[in-house]
């Protein structure tokens, strides 16, 4: 199975490379004949399996386009895909990709639990590593402020910050009690804490009446919903984002939690957007699509093409992991090509890394750039849900768009201090 996948991915790379590479004919022969090898480590199973799958599709779309246009600085791209599982095994696969497969760059990783451990190993190995959705944060504290070889995605808290700002913007004065149901690990805990910190910053006097922390993968949420309902909150904040989210919504609907005037804030719901059917997903809730809202009315031609091809090929609609994967590949491409142009020869790893710092690219979901401190900045989408669409699931009626420099801490800043002191616009 693994070999079949590799063969397929190589074929994709090969097919694209047959298109003429006219602008790069001046490269040395060796550079044109050997492909750029990119290792991908992504989850393929478990509760994040579908997320990794969507990311892989984003990477394949990027590689098909890159190879069709002549490759990266004239060299076709070849993918070698490995599975992301637990930190220990995933790090072994990183070593294998770097030492045995001799890849030029490694991309992927969805879990921050894995990326936090893998980042340090990549630095030690001097392996160029670009995370799709993983960070190098311990909680909200950056553990690798001076990373050289590791480039990471935006802070995990961006979506919670944006959802909190929207809740305040739309509903300030309309809620006095809040309840939370968030996954029981640092992501869920920090998101809830960020929400409360922002309420305090904007002087929203709301009392927390219930906090639920189901383990990731809890599939019976009947009692959690009953406990939330018993607390009678005016607003429910939830960072559930895996297979447990549709279960929560169905259970909450069945228990009547969504019948009253309770407001709902779901910063990371976009991962499950097609499973959140209209029958049990109310209109008017704050719903986060992170860095890719597939149905955006003002989507770029690139996004429209991707969504169209995705729908035709997979009978599905993409979420933000496809954008994260596309972004990672484009950042690498832009870095290699900028370094090649500056050097007028095929660049070394150190040249590529320097060129990637500050590079700006157009991703599927909109503009983005890689900060000098190796942390991504991207465009985020959230808004209020509607049922007025052609799908059987809820989409956004009111769409809000923010660039992540408004949502994540600047270089070298403490997250909680930043929330207290930042000039954040509603």
């Amino acid at each position: 199975m693994q070999n079949k996948r590799r063969t397929l991915l190589k074929a994709i790379g090969g097919a694209g490379a047959t298109v003429a590479a006219q602008p790069y004919l001046s490269f040395p022969a060796i550079a044109q004949n050997t492909p750029v090898r990119v290792g991908i480590i992504a989850p393929k199973s478990g509760i994040v399996g579908t997320i990794g799958e969507c990311g892989l599709r984003g990477t394949q779309f990027a590689v098909e386009r890159i190879n069709a246009a002549g490759g990266i600085a004239g060299r076709k791209v070849e993918l070698i895909v490995e599975e992301e599982t637990n930190p220990k095994d995933s790090i072994e696969r990183l070593r294998k990709l770097v030492l045995q497969d001799k890849v030029d760059c490694v991309q992927g990783i969805v879990s921050s639990g894995v990326s936090l451990a893998m980042g340090a190993v990549a630095e030690e190995m001097k392996a160029l590593l670009i995370f799709w959705d993983g960070t190098t944060q311990d909680g909200v504290k950056e553990t690798m402020p001076n990373a050289r070889y590791v480039f990471r995605s935006t802070d995990n808290e961006c979506e919670a910050v944006m959802a909190s700002l929207l809740a305040i913007k739309y509903w300030k004065g309309q809620f006095a009690t809040v309840a939370g149901i968030n996954p029981d690990y640092s992501y869920g805990r920090n998101n809830m804490a960020a929400f409360q910190a922002l309420l305090k910053k904007f002087k929203v006097d709301a009392r927390v009446v219930a906090e639920q922390w189901p383990k990731v993968g809890t599939l019976d949420l009947t009692t959690h919903v009953a406990a939330l309902k018993a607390a009678k909150p005016d607003l429910v904040f939830s960072s559930l984002l895996f297979a447990d989210l549709p279960i929560f919504m169905r259970t909450a609907h069945g228990a009547g939690l969504m019948d009253g005037k309770t407001k709902f804030v779901f910063p990371g719901a976009g991962f499950q957007h097609t499973l959140l059917k209209k029958e049990f997903t109310p209109e008017g809730m704050i719903f986060g699509h992170n860095t890719l809202y597939f149905a955006s009315a003002d989507a770029s031609p690139l996004q429209r093409l991707f969504v169209k091809q995705y729908e035709e090929k997979y009978k599905d609609y993409p979420h933000w992991e496809a954008d994260r994967a596309y972004f990672a590949m484009q950042v690498y491409k832009a870095g290699v090509e900028a370094a090649q142009k500056a050097k007028n020869a095929w660049p070394g790893k150190e040249d590529v890394i320097s060129a990637m710092e500050g590079v700006k690219i157009e991703s599927l979901g909109g503009p983005g750039h890689m900060r000098k401190d190796h942390i991504a900045e991207q465009t985020f989408y959230q808004g209020l849900t509607t049922h007025k669409n052609r799908y059987d699931f809820a989409t956004l009626g009111q769409v809000d768009r923010m660039y992540s420099d408004q949502l994540q801490k600047p270089t070298g800043t403490d997250f909680w201090k930043w929330i207290e002191t930042a000039q954040i616009k509603l």
Binding site: G49, D220, T222, I247, H253
Partner: protein, 293 residues
């Protein structure tokens, strides 16, 4: 007051599903003296097969409201794997409990790969079918009708098993075999057939439990292990081999979990196992179990 009923029903719903699996575990241990860890796998198989059966039935034109009978029938049909598994376990009836645990744990791992092979690695869900039966609302109190049906099904099965064991000829022979296998054999009871029947019934309880729960949850590869952890708390509290113990144990675990989630959400597992420890110290054989000589 409505909040109390909401939480109570949440606990009873969880207990209803736990009871079905624990009842299968108890039945098999009571008669065959095998601690069958694979009961969690039967539960997961029931969930996955239930999704496939419902999707097939809907594709064949069956109206969506018929999904509940389809789930129950799929769980019963899946019980057909019982005799094959029992034939494998027959090889270790006379062995030490450690062998039995190892073999049934191996089955758990093997079934996990079977699930992965046939249904893939990602969690599977049944969409919004659970909403098909609507909700029961009385004032501020509201509950999914499907959840009530699962609780009713579980109670019916508990009553049915009780009547079956107490009032039928087969049930009496079964209890006699559980008490004294050699004597039953000497009196002409076909013990091999009896074991196969009991194990298949235990399997069906697990597969029907998995099939019933899936519209409100999801089928995932982690299901077997997660369930076994709670099912064993049920049998330790209720007493290994006791059907009444399974019922009371499931209710205690379900309600303790509901109370913990409501008041101290972080202490969900701790609360359950606190009861387990208290029972183990105060009444090692469980509330309804017989002391082991």
């Amino acid at each position: 007051m409505t909040s109390f009923f909401d939480i109570l029903l949440g606990g009873v719903f969880h207990a209803a599903v736990l009871f079905l699996v624990a009842a299968g575990l108890q039945l098999v241990f009571g008669v065959q003296k095998i601690v069958n860890l694979a009961c969690g796998s039967f539960y997961a198989l029931g969930a996955y097969f239930g999704i496939t059966s419902v999707n097939w039935a809907l594709g064949a034109g069956l109206p969506p409201w018929m999904f509940l009978p389809v789930l129950i029938v799929s769980g019963i049909l899946l019980g057909a794997i019982g005799p094959a598994i029992e034939a494998l376990l027959r090889t270790i009836y006379a062995r030490d409990e450690a062998f039995q645990l190892l073999l049934t744990f191996a089955l758990v791992l093997m079934f996990q790969d079977v699930l992965r092979f046939f249904w893939g690695p990602n969690p599977q869900q049944l969409g919004n079918l659970a909403t098909e039966y609507g909700r029961l609302s009385i004032g501020a109190f509201s509950v999914s009708t499907y959840n009530l049906l699962v609780i009713a099904a579980s109670i019916s099965i508990a009553v049915g098993i009780g009547a079956f064991l107490q009032r039928t000829r087969f049930g009496r022979i079964l209890r006699a075999t559980a008490e004294n296998r050699e004597m039953s054999q000497a009196l002409g009871v076909n013990v091999r057939w009896m074991y196969t029947s009991v194990f298949t019934l235990g399997t069906v309880l697990g597969t029907v439990g998995g099939a019933l729960v899936v519209p409100t949850a999801a089928a995932s590869l982690d299901m077997p292990v997660e369930l076994v952890v709670e099912a064993f708390a049920v049998v330790v509290i209720g007493g290994l081999g006791s059907m009444r113990g399974a019922l009371v144990g499931a209710l205690i675990v379900g309600l303790m979990r509901a109370a913990a989630i409501t008041f101290y959400a972080e202490l969900e597992i701790l609360a359950i196992y606190l009861v387990v420890i208290v029972v183990l110290i105060a009444r090692p054989a469980g509330l309804f179990g017989k002391p082991i000589e």
